[in-house]
Structures are given as structure tokens and as C-alpha cells.
Symmetry: C2
Subunit: 424 residues, 2 copies
């Protein structure tokens, strides 16, 4: 890896503390990722991206900034990337996936805060995330309580725009969300000093739809009998989608998919024959949170899909490309994002249908209901999901776990008991 | 106490389990309330209300139901009682203040749910709250995540209407809340079969303003040097305000206030001379949650005010009585309720001003930041409140505690250290 210390220093990072993070990540990644059998060649690109996680991409962002390109940090699949990129800015998902950041986070938010939010706060205030340090603007949303209150903390230090996501999905809420998307466009125009044209926005709607389509292409390979790629690898790719350059990401993921197509023809899979197939549903897994997948896939089981924000919620539903006028496009953008069946909505019954449909589509044998601790909305929905799945005869187990590895053994034991019970 | 078992049985209550609750409450109340020195005579009415807590008032509700009067259960100071009572229905705050209900609650919601919501769910599904069992309708609101998701659970069993409280307080949010108030009126009209007239609503606006004014009158007595009534008693009265008949409540509280007026003249107070005066800010205390007040007032300190939903948030700000047309009144109602500075809003800076103003008005010596566990919004605001209070030289301590008494000794120790530190 090139030496980025000068860049990090210019970004006002805490170099010493950041070194500690840099020191552990390669080994951590190596153990989890590099030992996988029969990995596709195309994963080399994503290996490189991880090895350069706080380097190359950050350099790209900062080179862009020298040319006046703004950097916009986001946390949530409800923030329309199309608007950010249409204004010539770059959208990056922010650091939130490691307990390395928790000690710094706990200085500012209560200990009983979800690991994701606590990590993000710690990464920012501890100055150990070069993405945060590169941002001109942070975009929040009123999804869950923890995130909603976190923006207030960020806003004391950095320009922070909050989109008010409705709590329901009635007709009037759709209109409200359209207004929020329009307000977001105004804010982005103000930050970038660039008025978005209809052509620019249309172009970006097509680009991000293409990104969604390549992810769908990738996920479809997991539906086959012996998947040619591991769940762990697909999770990584989806995590990288949040901050990689969209065009390069599309190109490299398509290349990987071409390889997977060949593999399927050759029936070259990555799992043991008859490995139980699991669908994960629940809370997002920010990079480098690979814990659940790693436990599952080192227990002779396969993760075949994720009904999460770092899974299908990220790319499901395209923005309609029918309208090319500004008002129509704003409407279409709002409509696409509102289709996301997040647990912050009340009611959120469609999520149950999503889970059941995905269980069938991906030919899963069981469902892991994954929840980060203190995620009230997802934890609360478990009861209803369980009830509905049991009615369908679908086995489900709830696993609530944070980022630390202290409970990995216990989870493995519970998981193995669950796997034995499955009808395989 | 009269025998209400037949009534409870008709309400389909779990009599055996409910007996356990009835068996402990009188002693619990006696220990906390009846030993207070120099209590005002006027508290006798409220003693009676508590001794009849699941009896007399429930009988009134059910006698009313025989005459077609509907009962509407609420949980939150954002639900406009004016509309409920204008339609001839009765509004009652619901059971949520005891850990007696937690075992039943934990069968349905995650353990890590705030004690208030967990108790409410347990009280309903365990069939041990006669108020719940008397309801024709439950009214929820999208305030915090835990409550928002709880309505989905209630709605499976009972008619539940959810008001979508905005997450922000911009101009457009005010308009949105007006629409929600109007939708609520429609729902109440549907449930009661009664179309609310302008006269009826105006009448009720005046009535509930009168109720607010009498509470303000009561709280004002706490501002004097040697308050003539304990914080514990005032908390009880405010808790009772949520479910007592409004007219009788106004009458009895005014009567008590007349007595307090005399006491002030005679300089007859309830505390030791120079008892440190504490302001409590934070989460609501549903009946019979008297824990924090009891610990404070048995530590030779006085609670002189509560910046909580079971404190000033309940009665602060009157509804304007200027308009008498329906549209104008809906607007005024919405406007009054939106002034409440709840931690679910982002940002919520005005709450800090409220705390500082109350600290001065009530001549407090220190602030107790009280939070129930897993109350993300209030816990998250502590940092900003602390920062602002410290800037003003106002001592503050955070106490996070649930309903159980296992940590009472530890809290007392922390509190005593805090009291010693105060400039008294």
C-alpha cells in the first residue's frame, strides 16, 4: 500500500490512533476472506479495494476536491445518490462497521446505542475515518431514534442536512417525501454551487439504475443450486458499492458476473454439496462487519441472500426512466425510495412478503433474523416476522449480536443446532 | 374498597393475576405516601383515587359505556384530549408504570424495550389493566421507535389509531400536524358516531385549558421558599390528571390549591429548612412510578419541578381561545401541541431553554436528568443538555433507572454525593 500518511495528516486525522486500525485490518480481512476455497478471480479487484480502503479511494476523493468536486457522506439507503452525483459531487457511505470506534463513540453517545451509530460517531469524533474527514456535507435522515439524534451531534461540527423520512406510507407521506427530495436537491445545489439540469439528473438516474441492475445480476447467481460465489464475497461487494466510483463498480462487478456465468455453466460452486442455504434478514452490516456471514460460512452453510440495507434493499426497485422533466424525475425518485420496506415505517407488513418471496426465490432452507443490539425497530418486528414465517413453515432463528467476537462461539453453537433442525 | 371483581370479570381480565397486583399496591403506596409529614388535607381526595385506582374510575367508565359513551386510551401528551371529550368520549391514560407488567410484556416485545412500553404491552396482553380492557380505541403516535412499533402489536387485537407526529418543527411540519389532528377528529367521530360541533370543541378547549391552568396554579406553589406540598404529591396529582374526570379533577385540585394558599401565608412547608431544591428533567413517570421522587425526598431534598410529560410538558402552553370556527380551532390545537419540546424532535434546542428557565423560576439548586433505560432520544440529549447547563453553572447529574428497586441504594449514594456538592 502506498504511503498516505501525508494525505491523512492534511485531513486532520489522528494518525497514531488510525495506525492501530490499519495494523489490524489486513490480518482480520485475510483470515475471513483469503482462505475461502475456489474464489472467483474477479474478487481480486475487491481485495484490492479493501487493501486500499483508507487510501486509494480517499485519494481519488481528495484529488477531486482539488478540482472543486464536493464529497457528500451518507448513512442510509434512503438518501438519493442520483442527486448527489448529478451535481458533480461524490457520494460515500460512511465508516460505521467496527467496534474499533466504540470507545470514542461512547464518549459522546450513550453506551446503549446501536453499534452502527456508536461506531460512526466514534469514527468522526476520533478523527480516524478519512471518508468523514473528506466530507463537505453529511446527509442524515429521520429513520431510527439513534440516527435521528446523532445528526444533532454531527451538526455541531460539520454541515449536516437531515431528510425527514415519513413514518408511514400513506398517499400524503409520498407527497411529503417528494418535497424532501426536492429540498435535498436544493441543498446539494447550494453546497456544490451547481444547478442540476434535467439531462444531468436523467443521466444519473440511468447510471444508478445500472448499478442496481448489476447487483441484481450478481445476486441472481446465488439462486442456483451450487452458488459460484460465497455470501461473504457478495456482502463485501455490496458494502463496497456504497463508496466506490459507480462506473468502475459497474464495470468490475459485470466482469465478475461474466466469470460467474461461466462457473455456473461448469457447475463450479464454492460450497460443500448440500450445504444448507440461509437467508439473512434484519439490520445493515457496514464494512468490516462480516461476523455473521463468517460464522455461517465456516459452519458448512451458505448465505444465499440478505434482506437488509447491505443486501437487496440497496438495489431492489429501479427508478422509473419514463419522465425526463425535473418534477417527474423527483416524483419517480421519491417513489422508488419510498418502496423500501424499512422497519422504521409503521406498519411495515410488506417486509414480511419480501422475506417470504426471497426465501422462495433464493431457495433458502431457513432464515436468520439478524439484529444489532438496541435496534428497536428491527428487534420489535421479529415477533410478527416469526409468526408469519411459522405460518408458512419457514424455520427462523433470531440472532442479536454486536461487533465484538466474544459471543462468536455461542452463536456458532446456536446456529449449528438450527442447521441440524433444517429439512435438508 | 368495594368489590369490583364482577366488573373486572366482565372486562375479561385475568382476575388471579390482577389480584397479585391489587395485593401489593396499597402497601407500596402507604410506604411511599402516607408517612409524609404535614401533608395537605386536600391530598385525601387523591389518596382515595389511588385506593380506587382500578375500581371507582373504571366503574364510571363502564357505567358511561352502558349509556353509549366511548372510552379512548392514550399514552402521550401529543394526543389532543379536547377532541376526544368534545365527541362525548372519555380519555384515559393507560397503565405503564410498574414492572409487575414486564414478564407479560417480555413475551411480546424485546427485553431491551423501555420499561414504559414493555409495561403497557404486558398490561394489555396480560389482561391486568381494567383501563385497557375498557377501551373502544387506543390512540398511538409516532414519537419514539419503541412506541411506534408497539402500536402495530396493539392493532392486531384492538382498534388502534396512530397519529403521525412530525420529526421536525418546520413550517411544513406544522401543516402536517394540523392534518393529523383533523384526521384524528374524523376517527373519533367515526368511533363515537358523533359529529363534533364547533360549540362542543370550543367548550372542551376551554375545559382543558382550565385543567392546565389549575396545574399551573398547583406548580406555582412549589416556587416558594418552603413549598407547602411535596414533589411526590404533585407528581401523583399530575399522574391522576391523565385519567380522572376533568371537571372533578379541576374542582378537587383547586380546593387543594386554596389550602396551599393558606399554608404559604402561614409559611407551613413540608421540607426540612434549607432542603436542596431539585428540578427533574427527562422521561415520563407513569403511575405508580414514584421511585426517583421517593429516593430524593427521603434524602432530605425537595423536588420542586419536573420538566417531563408527567410534569410541565403536560400543561404548559394553552390552546388559543381566539378562534371559534372548526378550522381555526384545529389549527390552534395543532399549534399548542407542537410547542411541546419532546426529545423525539430533531433538533430540540428549545428544551434546553425550558430547563434553564425552569431552573431559575423554581429556584432549583440542581438538576436530575432522569432517563428510563433504552430511551434513546432522552438519553442522547443528555450530552447537549449537560454542556448547556454547565455553561450556565447549573449542576446536573444523569440517573438512568428502570422500575425495579434493586438499584435504589446505589442511586441514593450517587444522589447524596451530588447533594453534598450543591452550593446550599
Amino acid at each position: 500500500m502506498a504511503d498516505y500518511r501525508e494525505m491523512w495528516s492534511l485531513l486532520d486525522m489522528d494518525l497514531e490512533k488510525h495506525d492501530e486500525l490499519c495494523a489490524v485490518l489486513p490480518e482480520f480481512y485475510g483470515e475471513i476472506y483469503m482462505d475461502q476455497k475456489n474464489r472467483p478471480e474477479g474478487m481480486n479487484y475487491f481485495n484490492m479495494v479493501v487493501s486500499e480502503i483508507h487510501g486509494l479511494r480517499v485519494k481519488e476523493l481528495n484529488d477531486g476536491k482539488k478540482d472543486g468536486k464536493k464529497v457528500v457522506g451518507t448513512f442510509c439507503v434512503f438518501v438519493p445518490d442520483e442527486i448527489i452525483t448529478a451535481a458533480g459531487a461524490v457520494s460515500v457511505g460512511l465508516c460505521a462497521g467496527s467496534d474499533f470506534w466504540h470507545p470514542d463513540g461512547e464518549k459522546i453517545v450513550p453506551k446503549n446505542t446501536c453499534p452502527l451509530v456508536k461506531a460512526a460517531v466514534g469514527a468522526y469524533f476520533g478523527k480516524t475515518c478519512p471518508y468523514f474527514q473528506s466530507c463537505n456535507l453529511i446527509v442524515g435522515e429521520t429513520t431510527c431514534d439513534a440516527k435521528k439524534k446523532a445528526w444533532e451531534i454531527f451538526s455541531k461540527e460539520i454541515d449536516t442536512h437531515v431528510m425527514e423520512l415519513p413514518q408511514m406510507k400513506r398517499e400524503k407521506n409520498e407527497r411529503h417525501w417528494e418535497e424532501e427530495v426536492a429540498l435535498f436537491k436544493e441543498k446539494i445545489e447550494e453546497v456544490t454551487g451547481h444547478t442540476i439540469t434535467e439531462e444531468e439528473l436523467y443521466e444519473r438516474i440511468k447510471l444508478h439504475n445500472e448499478k442496481r441492475s448489476v447487483l441484481k445480476r450478481l445476486y441472481d447467481f446465488r439462486k442456483v443450486d451450487n452458488p459460484p460465489i460465497s455470501g461473504k464475497d457478495v456482502l463485501l461487494i455490496t458494502q463496497i458499492a456504497f463508496y466506490d466510483d459507480p462506473k468502475r463498480f459497474i464495470e468490475m462487478t459485470n466482469k465478475l458476473c461474466d466469470e460467474l456465468e461461466e462457473r455456473v455453466k461448469e457447475n463450479s460452486g464454492v460450497y460443500e454439496k448440500d450445504a444448507p442455504r440461509l437467508l439473512i434478514t434484519g439490520t445493515p452490516m457496514a464494512i468490516p462487519n462480516w461476523k455473521m456471514h463468517h460464522i455461517i460460512e465456516t459452519s458448512n452453510a451458505a448465505v444465499v441472500a440478505e434482506e437488509t440495507c447491505t443486501g437487496t434493499k440497496y438495489f431492489k426497485n429501479l427508478v422509473s426512466e419514463e419522465e425526463k422533466d425535473m418534477e417527474g424525475m423527483i416524483k419517480n425518485l421519491a417513489s422508488r425510495y419510498m418502496k423500501t420496506n424499512c422497519a422504521v415505517f409503521t406498519p411495515n407488513k410488506n417486509r414480511i412478503d419480501d422475506i417470504i418471496n426471497m426465501y422462495k426465490e433464493y431457495k433458502a432452507d431457513g432464515v436468520i433474523y439478524y439484529s444489532l443490539p438496541f435496534c428497536t425497530c428491527y428487534a420489535a418486528e421479529y415477533m410478527s416476522v416469526k409468526e408469519a414465517l411459522e405460518k408458512e413453515g419457514i424455520p427462523v432463528i433470531m440472532i442479536e449480536t454486536g461487533y465484538g467476537l466474544e459471543d462468536a462461539g455461542q452463536i456458532k453453537t446456536r446456529l449449528e443446532a438450527f442447521l441440524e433442525m433444517l429439512d435438508k
